[in-house]
Amino acid sequence: MNANFNQSNKKLKTTRTSLRAPIAVLDDEYYSSIIALTEVYVGKVKNKINIRDSLQELKILFPMPYSLSHLKRVRGNEILLTLVEGITKEDCLNIVKTKLPGFEPVISSCNVPSQSPKTKSQHKEANLYWPCNFHPCQMIEKFICDDFFTNDEIEKHYEYMRLAINTAKENDSHVGVVIINPKDNVLVAKSFDQRYKNPSKHAIMMALESVSETQRILYPHRQSENTSNVTEKVKIDNCEINNISLKKPEDVLPYLCTGYDVYVTREPCIMCAMAMIHSRVRRVFFGCTSKNGAIKTKCKLHLLRQLNHHYLAFENILFEECILLEKYS
């Protein structure tokens, strides 16, 4: 079934562009096809028409546990009562018999999905067990179907990755990096691996270094303490800029790598992946995975919820050529 899906997908792609779209690296929970289950008691109403009255009483007798809030209460004439855990079948049946006159005096146990579905396909699967509430996230669905980027965008990603590959080749290195400002398609920095000189001089670290160097040269004035100062400074420097409305300081001066995209030939290690989080990179594109990779292989650092910044990560651009670079070294 999976193979079929891939094939139909490929056909779609060929009508769009001959290049394969970059694949988003998402949390495992979006890909898993196994639905985790939990057991609940289910009762039956005698008459479906009176279901609404019964539901009022039910809310008091069996409040819906928070952990099941993704489930619908009713399936046909069946009604979800409560988790099996915490109450015996007899106790549960007793309550139904004595306090819920609209119910038939029988209950059964039933397996239901224990977690909220994350994607449309998971929702479909979960519904086979019990109907679920679900609001699809448009962006995630597009990621999963590789339908996120337009043709032009895909071509741009390939162009920039080729730049990264060439940077590596020109310098006889096995890793190359370019940083792009996608707003105006400007190359902000490019670099290659120099860890033989200094253990921290991985390609990405060098590129981040070069971004900061550029910013120091282009904007020698330290960003001032508050917004009003920024407007003042700009006014002094050049009267014409006066007319431009300055809402936030970042409209004037770049802050680290905010809004920039990083193209790197192979998956970054933990140090580099974290350095890009510190630098507030917007998106990371890598060609092939690596054995010490921290975005897909060893862990998914960019998805750590505790961190203060998150970037999107995409893989599989010019995969074959990036792998070849690895073999050169």
Binding site: V211, E225, T227, C269, I270, M274, A275, H278, N292
Partner: protein
């Protein structure tokens, strides 16, 4: 150990005066300081210029046999190394890391993530040395506003600016 940490705290205070996140770090080899540095992220506009990284750069510049040196040093730092610095230190086989307070935002020695299992190396990690003093410095910094940070992305409801 406390003496060394006090020295680091002095470095951190210097960083604070310069408007940096107050973190100080020293590398000890046979109880002698071979490198000392402080955080200078805001000055360099490079978010990866942490105290530990600066020390490492100093040592690489100073010693030709840096590889062997790193395998013998003790790293003393006021705040738990972040995920980036911790993985760099582990990749260099640093045998001992001593830190003051933990780092709930970026800590790479267990607070946010424990990086050590990803590296086939062992490292003796000591935490909590003068942690209150270290924390106090950080709190002083975060109470004042980071001049370089962009305005908060959190949407303010019912407030029209």
């Amino acid at each position: 150990m406390e003496e060394s940490m006090k020295y680091c705290l002095e470095l951190a205070k210097k960083a604070l005066m310069l408007g940096e996140v107050p973190v100080g770090c020293i590398f000890l080899l046979d109880n002698k300081i071979i490198a000392e540095s402080k955080n200078n992220v805001n000055d360099t506009r490079n978010a990866t210029r942490h105290a530990e990284r600066n020390c490492i750069d100093l040592i690489v510049e100073k010693f030709k046999n840096w590889k062997e040196i790193f395998e013998k040093v003790t790293v003393i730092v006021t705040v738990e190394p972040c995920i980036m610095c911790a993985s760099l230190l582990h990749s260099l086989n640093v045998p001992r890391i001593v830190y003051g307070c933990s780092n709930d935002r970026f800590g790479g020695c267990g607070s946010v993530m424990n990086v050590l299992p990803y590296y086939d190396t062992t490292c003796d990690i000591v935490k909590g040395i003068l942690k209150d003093d270290c924390m106090l410095l950080l709190q002083t910094f975060y109470k004042s506003i980071n001049p370089n940070a962009p305005s908060s992305k959190v949407k303010t409801r019912n407030k029209k600016l």
